[in-house]
């Protein structure tokens, strides 16, 4: 497999990670499922390394092989400028929601995805919350003495 794709393997605490180039992810996943019996996609997420730009994101794919009882992690580095890569939905159908979540939270585009909408945040939300340059917000606590004052500047959807 290493011959066909440019892959780097690493070990940490007994877990194996493969670093895969974004343009090869579909072929690598198909090969892992068909030739190496990794038949389940356990999870899929991303990590933001902002302010680093190249690569800014790492996509994480957690695969599991039911027959061999083995786990494998794929890491896909992705640059910060309009990040985009192919969907693996046709190989692992449950990537559908995982990729929607990554799109929602990190703003990473998945080409060829059948239904790329926000999944957790409201559909008209601006920004992608799990990016490191997205601030962690909070709600001001309203007590009886400052209720009206906070209420006036609180961003509600008003009629």
């Amino acid at each position: 497999m290493a011959g066909r794709f440019s892959i780097e393997a690493s070990q940490f605490r007994g877990e194996t990670s493969l670093t895969v180039m974004p343009d090869q992810i579909v072929d690598v996943c198909r090969s892992l499922r068909d030739d190496f019996s990794f038949d389940m996609l356990s999870g899929q997420t991303a990590v933001d390394y902002w302010p680093e730009q190249e690569p800014r994101f790492h996509l994480i794919y957690q695969l599991y092989s039911l027959a061999e009882n083995l786990r494998l992690r794929l890491r896909v580095p992705l640059n910060g400028n309009a990040p985009s890569l192919s969907t693996i939905e046709e190989i692992y159908p449950n990537a559908n929601w995982h990729e929607r979540e990554v799109f929602d939270m990190f703003g990473i585009n998945f080409e060829g995805h059948s239904d790329l909408r926000r999944i957790l945040m409201p559909y008209d939300w601006e920004g992608h919350p799990l990016r490191k340059d997205y601030p962690l917000g909070y709600e001001e606590v309203q007590f009886s003495f400052n209720y009206d004052e906070i209420d006036r500047r609180k961003p509600y959807a008003r009629e």
């Binding site: 605490r13 877990e15 356990s42 990590v47 159908p93 929601w97 559909y123 799990l130 997205y134």
Partner: protein, 409 residues
């Protein structure tokens, strides 16, 4: 920023059939505030008469941004948030998060702490299955089962309260062991429960297992094939009822599960009824584990002695300067975790609950990703519900045993 926009049919065109656009079929909203959606789940249904043609789940109503919040807190403070994810499996959430930290820093956990972790996790599994059983039968109009289930669940909640001071959000499991040792009366309380509870399971079974109404509503409803279960990554009792013999307690044991004798109930029919019987059998197996764990519960410390990660006992604070320094460091800066990333899964009552924890070497987690079973299992709901009646859909939402706090995080 808060402009009023509307979701139009155009945006959902790719999800519904052509007949919906022509007006042949009806689009109906179910939820988010529907009593049988077990939390706040919205389903957009495309109906032909009473038959479900399409079911489009819409989640996110319980999104609390816990993953983002945890990045801004030290490891110990973030542990408190883990209870709030899956509020029916609070002990399991603590456990998986602590296992991930322990794997990253290679922290030891004393045997007594491991045994207590197993006892609490299994009691929590029973409690979660009881909530599931109660609500599922309530959805199918068997009201009394719900009352009996919650009676026994409250008993387990009392045991957890006895240990951690809280019924649900106890955060009893901490990195390197437990918050404190269990009280003296703990063992008696659990033994009492073990003695009485098997008869109670028989009671539920007497009400449901051969009940023709229950059979009618569940047999061959929502059949999930083994291939589909694997393709869609379904885990837990839902997958085991479809013939996938996969339980992390056996496949990749943690916390000493390899020392206990228990069976993994599986079935091949994959319908709503066998998902019920698999969960009932799982409760019996959990009792077996608790029994064995109680028998081998020996005295000993319940926290690791590694003071760089685990706070010293309060009694030492008055006499040892070093203990004061460690205590101060742990509760202000927190502990530093070596750089790296791990993925740790455990078997929650709903399936594989995994944590991907990445550290940059600092006192706060750089990224925490929760692979939650409800999120993944909910994806098969459209597959299960196609061609069934709306009334059956109510049974199907219950049968995959989702917790929306778990799905939305």
């Amino acid at each position: 920023m808060f402009e009023k926009t509307e979701v139009t049919l155009d945006e959902l065109r790719h999800l519904v059939s052509d007949r919906a656009l022509g007006g042949d079929t009806v689009l109906l909203n179910m939820g988010p505030q529907h009593p049988s959606t077990h939390g706040v789940l919205r389903l957009l249904l495309e109906l032909d008469g009473e038959t479900v043609i399409n079911c489009i789940p819409d989640i996110g109503f319980l999104h609390t941004g816990i993953e983002k919040n945890m990045e801004a807190k030290t490891y110990i403070k973030a542990a408190v948030m883990t209870d709030r994810l899956d509020y029916l499996n609070t002990v399991g959430n603590n456990l998986v998060y602590c296992l991930a930290i322990e794997k990253l820093v290679e922290l030891d956990v004393p045997p007594r702490a491991q045994v207590i972790r197993v006892i609490l996790a299994e009691l929590q599994r029973i409690a979660s299955h009881l909530v599931w059983l109660g609500t599922q039968s309530l959805d199918l109009a068997a009201m009394s089962v719900f009352l009996y289930c919650f009676r026994e669940r409250e008993w387990i909640m009392d045991i957890i309260e006895m240990c951690g001071g809280q019924r649900m959000m106890a955060t009893f499991i901490r990195p390197g062991g437990l918050w404190r040792d269990v009280p003296e009366e703990f063992e008696d309380a659990v033994r009492q429960f073990l003695k009485i509870f098997p008869a109670r399971i028989d009671e539920y079974e007497a009400l449901l297992t051969k009940n023709p109404l229950f059979l009618e509503r569940t047999r061959w409803i929502g059949v999930l094939s083994r291939e589909d279960a694997i393709r869609w990554g379904v885990t837990g009792p839902s997958a085991r009822a479809s013939g996938v013999n996969f339980d992390l307690r056996k496949a990749q044991p943690y916390s000493g599960y390899e020392q206990y004798e228990f069976d993994i109930p599986t079935h091949t029919d994959g319908d709503t009824y066998v998902r019920y019987s698999v969960r009932i059998e799982e409760m019996r197996q959990s009792l077996r584990i608790v029994q064995q764990a109680l028998d081998k519960l020996a005295d000993g410390p319940v926290r690791s002695n590694n003071r760089k990660f685990v706070p010293p006992p309060r009694s030492e604070l008055g006499t040892s300067m070093e203990a004061v320094i460690h205590h101060f460091k742990l509760w202000t800066e927190g502990f530093l975790v070596p750089e790296g990333a791990v993925y740790v899964p455990v078997e929650s009552p709903r399936g594989e609950l995994g944590v991907y924890l990445e550290s940059d070497g600092g006192p706060k987690p750089y990224r925490v990703y929760w692979r939650t079973p409800s999120f993944v299992n909910l994806q098969v709901l459209p597959l299960l519900s196609k061609g069934h009646f709306v009334a059956d859909l109510v049974a199907l939402i219950g049968t995959i045993d989702i917790v929306l706090g778990d799905a939305d995080r």
